[in-house]
Every structure is written in C-alpha cells, then in structure tokens.
C-alpha cells in the first residue's frame, strides 16, 4: 500500500478523457468520415458474443440497441436504465441521418431505437422503416409539453410515428476576438467569406445546410429544389470555395484553435464553444435558415420492442431529460424539462432564440435528401 497518490483514479481519468473528447474530435462528422459508427454497428450485429449479457433478465429482455448521435447521451444514464430494468443499452453512434438511412435501407441493423431528424421521418414512414407509436406505453410523454412547431414533423398522415427529443437551429458562429463586425444575415456571411474573412471561413460538408444557406443568400427557400435557384446557389458555392478554410462539419477544433473565424454552426456546438470561449458568438441569419427537431423512433424491424418503449419512456422522464440536456447542451423542446434547467441554460439565447428570428426559419424538407441535383452540386462544390 502506498500513501502517495501518484496517479489519478480510473474514473477521473475517464471523465477527463470524455471532456477532452467532447471539446475536440468526437463529432458527428468525425464518425461519418471514418465510418466508425457504421463499423461499430456492423461489429455488434455480426458478433453477438461481443455484447455483454446482463445477469438479471427483466421482463423486457436484457438488451436494447439505440442508433444515435455522438455526445447525445450521458453514459451514466444508460447505466441507470440497466440498473432499473436489467436491459443493457448498446449504443451505435452515427455521423449523419443519411448514413443511418443507408444502413436501414440495407437492412439487418438490429436497432430498437433510432434518433432521427425531422426531415427523415416522412421517408422512414414511406419506406415502411418505422412504426406508429402506442402512446399508452409512454406514460412520461406529454404531447402538450412540446410546442407543436417542433412535435408536428413526427406526425405523418395523422399518426404519431416519432416522439420529439431535442430541438435546435443552424446558424453561424463568429469569433469576435478576430473580427470586428457584427454580421446578422447570410448575405453578410457569404460576402465576408469572399472578402475580409477570406481563408478563415468554414462551410458544412452537408448538402442540406451548405446548399440551403447559399440559397438564403438570394432569399430563396432553404429547401428549394428549383433547378434555376439551385444553379444560383451552386455558382455562389463555387465562387466561395477558394476563399474557404475548410468544408467540414467538424468545425469546433478549427474555431477553437483560431484557425477559422466563422463557420456554419449547430446549436449544441455553439453552446459548447461559447461556454469555453465567450468571444465565439452564435448568429441566426435574419433571412432564415434551418430549424430542426430530433425524434425517437422505433424501427418496424426492432428485435426488442418492449425494451425500446421502456428506454424512450425512461429518457422522457423530465428529471432524466434535464440531466441529459445538461450533458449534451441542446434544448429538449419539452416545457417540463425547461423548468428544471439551470438559469444559465434557460436564459441562453443560443438555445432559446428570439421569436422573430425563429419565425423566418424552415424545417428541412425530405425532398432535399433525395434530390439528385443537390447531391451533384455538393460533389461539384467539393471537387471544384
């Protein structure tokens, strides 16, 4: 036995590692690019022996598989679920909705719960990938607690196919320490990119937001699939390309290091960066842009449906949802949860923007996800 403490306890080390990862490399995009998300999914479905079996077999089974986003759940909350129900949560982390859809279309995922963004819901329903919810099995879900604006994309043909969880926007972040100005529009974003901020701006590697926010430059709809309007957006993207620092959805490291000054940005990233570096501010383009909500869904092919309901209900419980929100930094859109959040989160105008700014925003449309012209524009933009 030694009385000197010459090492940090394993638990503290893991916590530090986790907080380091949160601030640096683990992003949706990171996983998308590396295929790590897909790889873990393949591995766990191909080799069931690798998945630890819970000793206590509850009535819902010993396992539930969730496909979700990075840094979206506190692992301790999954431990609590396992303790309460006996079902171990197997988490598959993904880089994009498109990647999840690709896996679901290929089949054989073994997923019980899929966290999906609003614009994919109609496709999932149309392809018969997800099922209608039986709300009687979700006592913790209160439809009146979520603004219909956020909840409605989960209702297709009058049936509730998806339960809202976490809402946010896509704007841009700016490091005011490196640039003296206060752009408030997408027009200014693109003009600054080609002028004063040349070489210091990041555009998402993502058709929905890269093309959508270029469309906003001209005042077109964020979701436009009009060939002429898309041509204009392409022209702007190609013109801006030589002035860009990067085309990536993993923009936090470059913003934090100061290499980039401005970037398209999602709410959660803005919250995290602003918390550590107050000079990084978040701006919603006045012309509009994207508002989104994520949803819990249950695939028709889910092997553990009882466990899927149990897990969703467990995470919807307001106190648990508030714990999760403090972990991931997004607003949940659930009024019961808002009331439980600390003041610094409740008062944040990143999480809760002014109503008039919200009114101009649009939910992403399913058609953008399958429009071939948009896919080709992104390819030409990236290879230009």
């Amino acid at each position: 036995m030694t009385k000197f403490r010459d090492h940090i306890p394993a638990k503290e080390f893991l916590q530090r590692l986790e907080s380091y990862r949160k601030g640096s490399i683990t992003r949706r995009h990171f996983l998308g690019v590396t295929g790590l998300g897909a790889a873990t999914a393949m591995l766990s479905s191909a080799m069931p022996g690798l998945v630890r079996r819970a000793h206590a077999q509850g009535s819902i089974g010993d396992k539930v598989v969730i496909a979700t986003w990075p840094n979206y759940h506190d692992p301790q909350d999954f431990e609590a679920f396992k303790e309460a129900t006996g079902a171990a949560v197997d988490m598959n982390v993904f880089g994009s909705n498109e990647e999840m859809l690709a896996k679901l279309q290929a089949g054989g995922t073994g997923w019980d719960v899929v966290v999906a963004t609003n614009y994919t819901i109609p496709i999932y329903v149309g392809e018969g990938i997800i099922e209608e919810f039986d709300l009687s099995r979700l006592p913790n879900y209160d439809p009146s607690a979520t603004d219909p604006r956020y909840a409605n994309p989960g209702i297709v043909d009058g049936k509730r196919h998806a339960i809202p969880r976490n809402v946010g926007t896509t704007g841009f972040c700016l490091n005011t320490a490196d640039f003296d100005g206060s752009p408030a529009t997408w027009k200014e974003y693109w003009d600054l990119t080609r002028d004063q901020l040349s070489g210091r701006v990041i555009v998402h590697d993502y058709q929905l937001t890269a093309i959508g926010n270029a469309l906003k430059y001209y005042g077109y709809s964020f979701n436009s699939v009009d060939p002429k309007e898309l041509e204009d957006a392409e022209k702007l993207l190609i013109e801006a390309k030589p002035h860009l620092f990067a085309i990536t959805s993993d923009y936090q490291p470059s913003m934090r290091s100061g290499d980039a000054t401005m970037s398209m940005c999602w709410t959660g990233d803005a919250t995290q960066m602003h918390r550590d570096i107050p000079s990084i501010v978040y701006i919603l383009g006045r012309e509009g842009g994207e508002i989104w909500s994520d949803f819990f869904t249950i695939p028709a092919s889910a092997p553990h449906k009882d466990a899927a309901y149990a897990l969703i209900d467990f995470l919807l419980e307001p106190k648990m949802a508030a714990r999760e929100a403090m972990f991931h930094g997004y607003a949940t859109g659930d009024k019961r949860v808002d009331a439980l959040l600390p003041a610094e989160m409740r008062d944040s105008d990143i999480l809760y923007p002014a109503a008039e700014l919200l009114d101009a925003l649009e939910f992403g449309a399913a058609v953008t996800m399958t429009n071939p012209q948009r896919a080709e524009i992104l390819a030409r933009f990236k290879s230009a």
Binding site: G32, V33, L244, A246, P372, S383
Partner: protein, 283 residues
C-alpha cells in the same frame, strides 16, 4: 491422403475467404452498377449504362487521385530508399532492430488519430507560427494539397521502407565488394549494383502504397479540410450521403479497372528495369 486432396484442403480456407470477401462483393458491385437509384436512394434492379455514361461527373475526383497517388508513391520511394539502404547496409547491427521498431511504432496508433495530430502541427498555432516567429511570413499549410501530401507520405512510408529493406538486407555483400575491387566508386556501385538488386522491394513497396493511395479518403478529408476531393471521398458521399448506390458502384468498378490497368503497366515497366526478373518480395 492423396497429395491433390491435401493441397485442396490446405487452400480451402483461403479460397472460401476470397470467394466470400472478394469475389461476391465484386459481383454485387458490378451488378449494382447497372441498376437504378431508388426514389429514396439505394438500389433498384435495372439494366442501364447511365451510371457509366455519367462518370464524367466525377472526373475531377479521378484526376486528383491519379495525380496524387503516383506523386505520393514517388515521394515515399525517394524518402524510403535511402532510409532502407541505411538500415540494411550502414546501421550498426546492434541498433538495427531498435531502428526498425521505430519505423513501425507509428502503426501502433490509428492513422486517424495521427492525422488529427497533423492538424495541430500544420495548423495556425503549429509550424506556421514558428515560421512566422522566424520572420519568414505566415504560410497557410493546413487544408492544402501540400498538407494532404505530407499526411500521405507520413502515413504510408513504413509500407515502402520494409519491402526495400528486406530486398537490400538479403543482398549478397560480396557483389558490393567485387564492384569496389573492380574500381567502381561507391556512387556507381549504388547505382549499378545495389539499386537494380533492390527493384523487387521497390516494386512491392510501390504497389502497396499506390494501391492504398488510390482508395484513400481519410487524409484528404482531414488534412485537406474537405477541399481536396479523391475518388475515395466521392465514394463515401455516394454511398453514405446521397445514397446513389448504382452510380457509386459504377465509380467503384471503374476505379478497380483503372487500378488493374495501371498496376499491370507498372509491373511490366519494373520487370524491364530489373532485367526480366519478376520476383516480387513481400517482406
């Protein structure tokens, strides 16, 4: 047991593996490449040549790959050959094992993590700051083709070093002495004896590096900031983002074809250079 049967048994695992892991996927890719994209993405059976007719839409990706893959291979070779020469013929035998391990050590960490490390080195607060402090201007290094090339050479160098090292290590030293005794200055011995005898290693190393580079997508994405687009990147986008599997399959099949042609031509050239010997040494 008859010898024929024994051989068949010995080869069965490898044959099964190749069938399941190589032949079947390749057949799937070729079949898919004649299909049509479903309304919500994916694959719908059909017979059309549209996907191949549309290949021009990814011409830039092919051009970038076909420029950077050979260039990366040549740079690896130029750096690896002298290093392998030193390790095999000049290094103190007592230190040789240690030095060889040092060449492998980077492989113990994933290329992904190492590429992220290069972001720090080439980023604004890394090398460019040091260069700026020396008063030599403030160059932009990260997210350029240069950064991609640095990442590629760094990542694949050991694959080039080892085959060349092996070829040089088993080289008959008496030939070098004979060359010296017959009056050749050292530089001529290297050019006329050592170099030709290392060609098998050079061929193997170049193939390993070149083939992997043709499919590369990680380094351009991470160190090129998504602005340098390889065929590998086009494939990732086609399969995982726009989910145009048939077009993706056509691009993949074309890449395989291009690779087969290039590699065949290369092997022929090497055979001619090494004087008709076609033994390729792999470690």
């Amino acid at each position: 047991m008859r010898p024929g049967l024994r051989t068949a048994l010995f080869l069965a695992p490898a044959t099964a593996w190749l069938l399941v892991m190589l032949v079947m996927p390749l057949v799937v890719v070729i079949v898919f490449s004649f299909g049509e994209r479903g309304a919500a993405g994916g694959y719908v059976p059909a017979f059309t040549l549209d996907n191949y007719a549309n290949l021009g839409a990814r011409w830039t990706a092919f051009r970038n790959t076909l420029t950077l893959a050979p260039l990366g291979t040549v740079l690896c070779l130029l750096i690896a050959w002298p290093l392998a020469y030193f390790l095999a013929l000049k290094a103190d035998p007592r230190w040789r094992t240690v030095l060889l391990i040092l060449v492998i050590v980077p492989f113990w960490t994933s290329l992904l993590i190492r590429s992220y490390a290069w972001i720090q080195i080439l980023g604004g607060s890394g090398l460019p700051r040091i260069i700026a402090d020396l008063g030599l201007g403030k160059p932009r290094l990260i997210n350029t083709p240069f950064a991609v090339m640095v990442g590629i050479v760094y990542g694949y160098l050991p694959l080039m070093v080892f085959p060349i090292y092996v070829a040089l290590e088993k080289l008959d030293r008496r030939l070098l002495e004979a060359s010296g005794d017959l009056g050749s200055p050292p530089w001529r011995t290297v050019l006329q004896v050592t170099l030709p005898l290392s060609m098998a290693g050079v061929a193997t190393g170049s193939m390993l590096v070149f083939i992997l580079l043709m499919g590369e997508f990680l380094v351009p994405q991470i160190l090129g900031g998504g602005k340098v687009f390889f065929v590998g990147n086009a494939l990732v986008d086609l399969f995982l983002q726009s989910r145009n599997w048939p077009f993706g399959a056509a691009v993949a099949a074309t890449l395989v074809a291009v690779m087969l042609v290039t590699v065949t031509l290369y092997m022929r050239a090497i055979r001619r250079l090494s004087g008709g010997r076609d033994d390729v040494a792999l470690m």
